[in-house]
């Protein structure tokens, strides 16, 4: 039963990644693309967590944690660049 649930979760998350990619390509504004990138990062974290559950190994949780931190820093850096034209003042 847990295998079927994991397969369903993988399917839903893959579809979510595709929808976010569509918004990333479509735009129309720069903030939309930043939001789509942020969504892609969160979906990637969920995919890594599901991969950990499916394989029963805790090895990849560090990757998920790093992605959570770096994704947040990246989103803030993009927004700072749009606001100021510069990241580190």
């Amino acid at each position: 039963m847990i295998q079927a649930a994991i397969a369903t979760g993988f399917g839903c998350l893959s579809l979510a990644v595709l929808l976010a990619l569509w918004r990333l390509l479509r735009g129309p504004s720069a903030a939309d693309r930043i939001l789509a990138l942020d969504t892609l990062t969160i979906d990637a974290i969920a995919l890594i967590v599901l991969f950990c559950i499916a394989h029963g190994s805790p090895l990849y949780f560090e990757a998920a944690l790093l992605l959570a931190m770096v994704g947040f820093v990246g989103t803030v850096a993009y927004c700072r660049f749009l606001l100021r034209g510069d990241i580190v003042e």
Binding site: M1, I2, A5, A16, L19, S29, I34, I45, G56, C79
Partner: protein
């Protein structure tokens, strides 16, 4: 592994996938950026949190011990999602005011409403305006 834990974890995983899908569907379907912000920042974050809780309750059965990594990821995501949404909304407001981005063509108002006082919204203040009381 007890059956009840397996049922609970399966439900949480499916629920998490559905929430992430709903968030991305909102990102595609909603009309303007201020409405699109709701989908990924709320629904998708909740979906990831649901997957992480499923991992927490499955860990004693598959890995033999409890681990705190999942709770750390959950805490970090729930702390950073509002901050990044706030930053995106701020960048969007400034670019809309400077007419740098295309307006959504469906009549959705993207500008902030008038404050009703002599002062403008705080996000549009420049440093040289700070001297006035």
């Amino acid at each position: 592994m007890p059956v009840i834990i397996e049922i609970l974890a399966s439900l949480l995983i499916v629920l998490g996938g559905i929430f992430a899908l709903v968030g991305s569907w909102g990102l595609v379907r909603l009309p303007s950026l201020m409405t699109r912000l709701h989908g990924p920042t709320k629904a998708t974050t909740l979906g990831v949190g649901s997957c992480l809780v499923a991992s927490v309750i499955l860990a004693p059965g598959t890995q033999g011990d409890w681990s705190g990594h999942e709770l750390l990821i959950t805490l970090f995501l729930f702390l950073t999602a509002p901050v990044s949404a706030n930053m995106i909304a701020k960048a969007h407001l400034h670019r809309q005011r400077a007419r740098l981005d295309p307006r959504p063509g469906d009549g959705v108002e993207e500008d902030l409403p008038p404050t009703g006082t002599a002062k403008d919204w705080a996000t549009f203040w420049r440093p040289e305006d700070r001297s006035e009381p």
